[in-house]
């Protein structure tokens, strides 16, 4: 009797496993012509990353990236459709063609570039340590300590660096920056090493908590771009030209200062060659 049961069990397992391994091909990304023909430009933004994107008091997605995406759609002559994405799923969204381009603080990284393509830079990203004001932490070296717990967000740029260069630190990976900030405030960890550009905006939201922000310029600056599906050159080439014009007209810097409450810490070098 049992042999019959096991035959059925293993038969079903084999069927399910084969179904998973023969997954259907993802939807194709749309070319520039297809976007223009449809009259809609679908852009992924992450509203858990204020002020890059956020929900405003009308519960609509707003912020720096939606504003830039709106300018790009206007130049394209189509309607902008914003799609909410998260840090872990933003790249799969564009790779699978669910959005035409993705923003959500898309730092250009070589690993990411194996899966998607990047436009020219939209803005710089500057990194640092966020800690409580009474914390003895003053540098990255201080974080590589088994008594230090870092609270980070899954899928973000600093994680591989922390795992390789700060192996002694304990790591708690949460789902978004709001949870990260709340967990830090509640004392679940000692610090976070991540982008600090948005901190003036975030500090305003957490008025009761005083933070110590330690810039770490030696870690390097990363540049964020729009991500497009691998090989979608028609769209990428057009976006490069649009972003160049938005830089030279001062529109990107103006939107940055409006939302981030201070000028971009490191300017993006703009070149007519790309």
């Amino acid at each position: 009797m049992l042999s019959g049961v096991f035959r059925r069990v293993f038969g079903a397992a084999a069927l399910i496993a084969s179904a998973a391994f023969v997954a259907p091909a993802a939807v194709d990304a749309r070319t520039l012509d297809e976007i223009l023909a449809s009259g809609e430009f679908r852009v992924g933004v992450n509203p858990t990353l204020p002020p890059r994107a956020l929900f405003n008091d009308k519960n609509e997605i707003d912020g720096f990236e939606p504003e830039i995406a709106g300018l790009i759609a206007e130049m394209m002559g189509v309607k902008l459709v914003l799609v909410q994405v998260g840090s872990p799923d933003r790249i799969p969204f564009v790779a699978a063609g669910k959005v035409d381009a993705v923003m959500g603080a898309m730092s250009r990284k070589v690993d990411r570039a194996k899966v998607i393509d990047f436009t020219v830079p939209l803005h710089s990203e500057n990194y640092g340590i966020v800690a409580k004001p009474d914390s003895p932490i003053t540098s990255l070296e201080d974080l590589n300590n088994e008594n230090i717990t870092l609270i980070q967000v899954r899928g973000t740029t600093a994680i591989p660096f922390i795992e390789q260069k700060l192996p002694k630190a304990k790591l708690i990976l949460l789902d978004n920056y709001a949870d990260r900030d709340r967990a830090l405030t509640q004392g679940r960890g000692d610090a976070s090493f991540d982008g600090i550009d948005s901190m003036p905006f975030r500090l305003a939201a957490f008025a009761n908590t005083k933070w110590k922000i330690i810039p770490v310029p030696e870690w390097g600056i990363t540049y964020s771009s729009l991500g497009v599906a691998k090989g979608n050159d028609t769209l990428k080439d057009w976006l490069n030209l649009a972003i160049y014009e938005l830089h030279t007209s001062g529109a990107i810097e103006a939107a940055w200062e409006k939302w981030f409450l201070s000028p971009m810490a490191s300017k993006v070098p703009v070149s007519p060659y790309f």
Binding site: R8, V9, A20, P160
Partner: protein, 224 residues
């Protein structure tokens, strides 16, 4: 621009994912045991306890049954620290899963208590059974036979629910799948493999539960 499946980029992480599956299984087993004990106490109080205790237990059960598990764990993880109770990620999720399971298993076990017919007890007394013998040979086997299938289903549900732990920083199977996804960006491959791990976990658990049920409680059923 067709998407090309590349499982080779994910296969180096198979043992890492297996470690996550082990943590998920640990969470499920411990939450199930604690939840079963909570459920047994609550079911006993509901059926045989004094009125104030019954009201308290019913309030707990109604609250848990009518709110999402995710909200319950959010409350434990993010709201309790405001009252001075700071639990780490694993403990907060474990307590949330156990309290949630406890409410469901309270209802399951209450149904088990109610399934005992007075005639069964009277028949045992007629045959000269003492009270302890009646419980040992009539009541308990009857309740176990009635409770075993729904409790087995509850264990499978708890195993699936452990995936919520990823949101709270527990590096179980889903959390580790997210981590690999953020390195390789091979979502189809990563989550297909993690789905297979979950399927294997539940098939193994179902097979064990089926075998135990079949040979210890003479319950007829099937894994699928």
């Amino acid at each position: 621009m067709n998407y090309t499946l590349q499982f080779g980029q994910v296969t180096p992480y198979l043992w890492y994912l297996a470690g996550g599956a082990w943590i998920a299984l640990q969470l499920a087993v411990v939450a199930f045991i604690i939840g079963w004990a909570i459920g047994l106490v609550c079911a006993s109080i509901t059926e045989y306890g004094p009125k104030p205790a019954r009201i308290a237990v019913r309030s707990y059960v109604v609250f848990v049954l009518n709110t999402p598990l995710l909200v319950q764990i959010f409350f434990i993880y993010f709201a309790l620290p405001d009252y001075g109770i700071l639990l780490d990620s694993y403990d907060a999720v474990l307590i949330g899963l156990a309290l949630n399971a406890g409410a469901y298993m309270s209802e399951i076990q209450r149904a088990g208590f109610r399934s005992i017919r007075r005639e069964e007890i009277e028949a045992a007394e007629t045959l000269g059974f003492t009270r302890v013998q009646s419980i040992r040979y009539v009541v308990v086997p009857h309740i176990l036979k009635v409770l075993y299938p729904p409790l087995s289903n509850q264990f499978i549900i708890i195993t699936m629910s452990t995936s919520i732990a990823a949101i709270f920083g527990v590096e179980e199977l889903t959390g580790r799948a997210y981590n690999i996804n953020s390195i390789t960006f091979r979502s189809l491959e990563v989550f297909s493999i993690s789905a297979v791990y979950y399927i294997v976990l539940t098939i193994v658990a179902s097979t064990i539960l089926y075998t135990v049920g079949r040979y210890f409680f003479r319950i007829k059923g099937s894994v699928f």
